[in-house]
Subunit: 324 residues, 2 copies
């Protein structure tokens, strides 16, 4: 018997990872689990088996709990497609547009829809909208207009105001890094140098050198500097084992170059003087802070665990938190 | 008995493909062969087997012929590493620096070295230096300063003057396109739409739309526009089967945006008024001409078959053309 009663099962269900949270009063995290069961990497038995494996014992112990999920589970490749809702969008619009699905007999799931912008450069998100709701709930300073930066496979720069997502833009920084590391000629020296060895401690110097190279050539695209990852190694100016950190610096630097409000054009709905706030895990937050420093920006605050908080907020608004 | 006597076996030996030429007087191509035996895809038996398979009968019929090779065969991953020579470099410097290798008992091969630039943004080429020599020999208008554009996996923009390579820069356009098509989320709609079907005829409209998107946003990197390949499909503004052409347009457009002399900074040793000349095959040349038109450039001339011509020129300078 626990002092704190469970109120909600919350799932942050991405492409490669499924995170589950058993939430109690006020959205407190009673238990947290991580499984490699992203929507593209489901276990045998598919979505039903993943839900059972993640939350079967939680559901058995508290049969009446609702399950709320966000992320790629609501995409065309997911369990059921939850149509994107349009900007501006906040907690209320998301809670109103939940998609109820019977994942298996007796297993009901609610899915948070994604959010889209329109026009000739449309953009989409799935999962980050829930993190925005969580970040807004966690940080009182975000009441005014703010620019949320969510580093990741598809980094999002999100303009928020009055509790809603106003506009946003996606940078494929993390996916490009993974592709270039695993499949391109640029990853080869590091793959060879590190074969069979433990990865070295991150080389902050090489990362910052990459960021600085972009900062020093503001009119040149990263695509024009990428080959230097190879040539600096070939000419002995960069150690093979540092080359991926340098590559990461080029890609993060290119993201900042395009996305920072000072650039104007590339920044979504920017007035140029918004506060930046990072949303994500501390190691990635630290990386972006070091890069931002090179671009002359003070270290922004970091908000962690935004997804479970956002799922709680949306569930509460939709009346899905049992007994609350 | 042939009227024209063979004078040289020329090999253009890249990462994925090996091209062989039996050359006669004046570098005329008597016979041409293409094998999938790039240095990373050698047949069983390695380099020796590849040379025998490519040119065994040529060597048997004319035992005294020399063999000259250029490209990745001279890299650290190749048969033997031929050290890069420094810019400025032309036919004479290359011919002087050939690396003689005994690939197998009695099988002698000469390898053309690569060329490098130095400084904090060094660059390298292997194979393209030979194409430059061939292009200069083929086109009399190239006597003055000129900017040679060689589209490909690693596109090269090469400043030439007085018969020599003065400076150059590499753009990973082709490799990025292949990576994104085969491994990223951007390639998925086209992979699904085209599964089991013949590829559609190239959609010039979608390619040009991608180029124009870059041209219309000169301050934004392609990395910031890449995600639109996905979002335009998701929002019904781009057909899945056209999406790779649009992606190609973004990447080629980004290359032009950075490399064209009008940009100044990003262009190697440019005075801003050089003639552009394309070097490569006609289909890629046509693609770059259409992209250049969007950037306001007149269609440049195209030089084909530069590699065998360059190998001939270098061999003749080095005294390797039998009886010539």
């Amino acid at each position: 018997m626990t002092l704190t009663k469970a109120r909600l099962i919350a799932l942050d269900w991405g492409t490669s990872v499924l995170r589950g949270y058993l939430l109690g009063d006020g959205g407190s995290v009673l238990e947290e689990r991580r499984k490699p069961w992203g929507v593209m990497h489901l276990p045998e038995g598919g979505f039903t088996a993943a839900i059972q494996g993640m939350a079967g014992d939680w559901r058995a112990a508290a049969p009446g709990l609702n399950v709320l999920a966000c992320g790629m589970v609501g995409s065309a490749q997911g369990l059921r497609e939850a149509a994107y809702i349009a900007c501006p969008a906040g907690e209320e619009a998301l809670a109103t547009a939940l998609l109820a699905v019977e994942a298996a007999p007796g297993v009901h799931l609610h899915i948070v829809p994604g959010v889209r912008t329109s026009g000739e450069r449309p953009d989409v998100m799935r999962g980050e909208e829930t993190q925005v709701v969580g970040a807004l709930a966690r940080a009182s300073h975000l009441g005014a207009r703010s620019l949320l930066v969510m580093p990741g496979t598809h980094s999002k720069w999100i303009q928020v105001g009055e509790g809603r997502i106003l506009d946003f833009r996606t940078y494929m920084t993390g996916e490009l890094f993974a592709l270039l590391t695993e499949h391109s000629i640029l990853g080869r020296p590091a793959r060879t140098a590190l074969a069979g060895k433990a990865p070295p401690l991150p080389s902050g110097d090489a990362f910052e050198r990459g960021v600085a190279a972009i900062h020093a050539h503001p009119d040149t695209a990263a695509t024009a500097l990428l080959f230097s990852v190879r040539t600096l190694v070939l000419t002995g100016q960069l150690k093979p084992e540092d080359s991926l950190e340098y590559l990461s610096g080029l890609l993060v630097g290119d993201e900042l170059r395009c996305a920072l409000p000072s650039r104007g054009e590339a920044s979504p709905a920017s007035t140029g003087d918004e506060a930046l706030t990072l949303v994500g895990d501390p190691s990635m937050g630290d990386r972006y802070r070091r890069a931002l420093k090179i671009f002359g920006w003070a270290a922004p605050p970091l908000i962690e665990d935004a997804a479970p908080k956002g799922l709680w907020q949306i569930a509460r608004r939709a009346g899905l938190c049992n007994g609350v």
